[in-house]
Amino acid sequence: MAHKRLKFLGVVAAVLMVAIACGGGGGGGGNAKQYKIGLVTDIGGLNDKSFNHLAFVGLEKAKADFGIKDDVIESHNGSEYVPNLTNFASKSYDLVIGVGFLMQEAVGTVSGQFPTVHFAIIDGAGTDANFNDLKHSNVQSLYFKEQDAGAMVGAMAGWMEKNGKSKMNHHVISAVGGISIPPVNHYIAGYKWAAKMEDPSIQVLVGYSNDFTDPAKCKGVAQSQINSRSDILFQVAGGCGLGVLQAAGQAGVYSIGVDADQKDADPSVIASALKKVDVATYTSIQNVVKGTFSGGALTFSIANAGAGYAVDNFTVPADLKTELDKIEKQIHDGTLTPPADIPA
C-alpha cells in the first residue's frame, strides 16, 4: 500500500511540476479599454449548425468590428452551465452570453451573484427554479418574433398552393409543432396567417408531437398529415422535426425547416424560417460596447433584420420572389403585422 501512495503523490507532483513549468507563456495586456465578451454554449456545442454556431458567428463579427476580446466555453453537459457562466463573470467580463433556454436557471443564479456583470441569454430570461423571471437589471433577454419568419414561409407555401407549384396542389399544407408553447405557436401563427392571405381556400393542418428530440414522433405526426393530403410541411420541433423533413422526403412532398437553415437536412426542404441568433448576439455585444445595454427583453424581427427566411433546395419563380419581397417589406414597414396567436 505504502509504495502505491507514494506513486500517487508522484502523479500529482509530476502533473503540477509539468504544468507550473509550462505556466510562463502567454500574458499580454491591453492599453485602451478592450471589452471582454464570454460566450457559453449549451450542450449542442459550437458545431450544432444552429443556435450555438450562429451565436459564434455573431461573436466573430463583433470581434472584427469592435476589436473585443472574445472567449468561448463549450458546455459538455448541463451541470457545467453554472461554473462556465461563473468563470467569465468572476473574471469581470463585460458581457456573458448564454445560448438557449436550457441555461435560464443558471443565468438567473449567476446574474444574481454578479450584479455588475452584464448577461445576455438567447430565447430565455434569468429565472429561478420555477421558471419565474427574476428580472435582474443586468440580464438582457434576446427574444425573436417567430411569427415574422413563419409568415414568410407561410406566404411561400400559400402562393405555391394557389399557383399549382406544389407537388399535389390539394390546397392543404401543415405544421408540426413540438410542444404547444409560445415560441412554437408564434411560428405556426405567422405561417397559417400568411398562407391564408395568399390562398384563401387553403386548409392548414396543425399537429403537435409533444417532443423536441425524438424524430420518430414527429415523423408519425407528419405522415398522418400527408395522409390528409398535406403537401408542404413546416417543422417547428427542433431535433424531433427532422422526422418531418424525412417523412416529406419519403412521400415526395415539400418541407420547410426551422430556426437555422436546414437545407442539408433533407432534399425535400424548400425553405427555412430563421431566427437570426447571430444578429441578436452581435446587437447585444454592440449595446455593451456602445454603452447602451439595458436589462429586459430585446425582440428581433424582420424590422431589425433579426428574423427572416432562407430559400433552400428549390428555385423560386420570379413571381413568387416579387410577392415575398413585397410581403417582407410590408412586415418591415409595419403595414402587415403577423399575429402571435394561431388564427382560427
Binding site: 502505491k4 502533473v15 448541463g78
Partner: protein, 383 residues
Amino acid sequence: MPVGSVILAFVLGAVIVAVTGGNPFAAYSGLLCGGTGLGCQGGENPALQISTTIVYVIPLITTGVAVALPFRAGLFNIGAEGQMIAGMMACTAIGVRFSSLPAPVLLPMVLVGGMAAGALWAGVAGVLKATVGAHEVVTTIMLNYVAQWLLRYLIIGGPLQVAPGTSKSLPIGAGARLATILPADNSLIIFGLPASVYRVHTGLLLALAAAALFAFLLWRTSLGYEIRAVGQSQRAARYAGVSVARTIIVTMLIAGAFSGFAGAIQIAGVDHNLSDVYFTDTTGFDAIAVALLGLGSAVGIVLAAILFGALHAGGAVMQADAGISGSLVFVLQALILFSIAANFVGQIRRLIPGLGRPAALPPELPPAAPLMTEAADPPPEPA
C-alpha cells in the same frame, strides 16, 4: 504504472495540441489553473477553481468506489451511472414528497433512500450474475439505459414533472439539502467573490467517509476477505467455504449503494432537483477510469478522482483562456485509460533495455483483460 500512464497521456496530449496548431504550454497552463487555481493568467479566482474542482470530485470518489469494490470480486460494474441516477430519482422523490419534514429526519431519509435505490439497481445485475450467469457487463450497461430513460419519463410527462413543457422536477425540501461549506449568500464577500459562488458542499465529507468505509470493508472485515478471495480465484474461494453466489450479490448490492449514495449527495448538495442535466452526464463512466487509475485502493481512488475532477474543471478554463477546445480533456482521460489498459508503460520499458525492470503488475489486482475473462466464466451453482 499509473504515474507513467498519466505522464504518457499528457505528453501525447501535448503532441495532439501542437499538431493541431495550438500551444501545449498555454493549454496545460489553463488546465492547471482551472483544476487547481495555480498559475492563473486569465484573472481566475483560485478559490473558485478549487471549489469547482471539488464539486466535480465528490461524485467521482463515491462512484469510483462503486466500480472498485466489484473489481476486487472480479466483477466489472459498468453500471455506476445508472445506479447513481437511480439514487438521484429516489432522493428527489422522497425529498419532494416529504418536503416539509425537518432536516434531522429528511436528510437521512433521502440519503438512505438513494442508497437503497442504487443497491436495488445493481442488485438486479448481481442476482442475475449469481443465479443464471448473465454477464454483469451486459446487464449493468443495459440498466444504465433503463435508468436514463426512466429519468426522462419521470421529468417529461411523468409524475415528477413540475409543469407541462418543462424537463425538471420540483425542488427537494429545504430539510433534504446538504449545506454548502461556505454560506450561500450573495452579499457576503469571501476571497473577493460572493460566497454563494463557492458550491463546495458537505457531501465532500460523506464521499471521503465512503472511501474510508470501502477500505475498511475490504481489508478489515471477513466480507472484504471473501470479496478478495472470490476475485482472485472463485474455485479457491469455494474450496475455502466461501459462497461465491452470495458474495457476488452482496458485492453488487454494496457497490450500488455507493453509487446511489453519490446520486443522492449530488441532488442534496448541488442540484436540489432532477433535471435534463443528467441526460448527458458521464460521471458513472468516468468512475471506471478513476477506479482503474486508483488501482482499486481508497487513497488511489481519491487521488484519481481529484485528477479527473481537476481535468473536468480545467477544460473550461483551458478553452476560455487558451482557446483550445475543452474536449481535449476527454482525449486526455481516454489516453490515460487506454495507457493503463494496454500497459503501454510496461511495454515501453520492456522494449528499451536498461530503462529499469519491467513494470510489475500490482500484486492485489490483476490487469483488466484477465479480469474480464475470469468474470466471464460461468458462475457456480448457488450453494
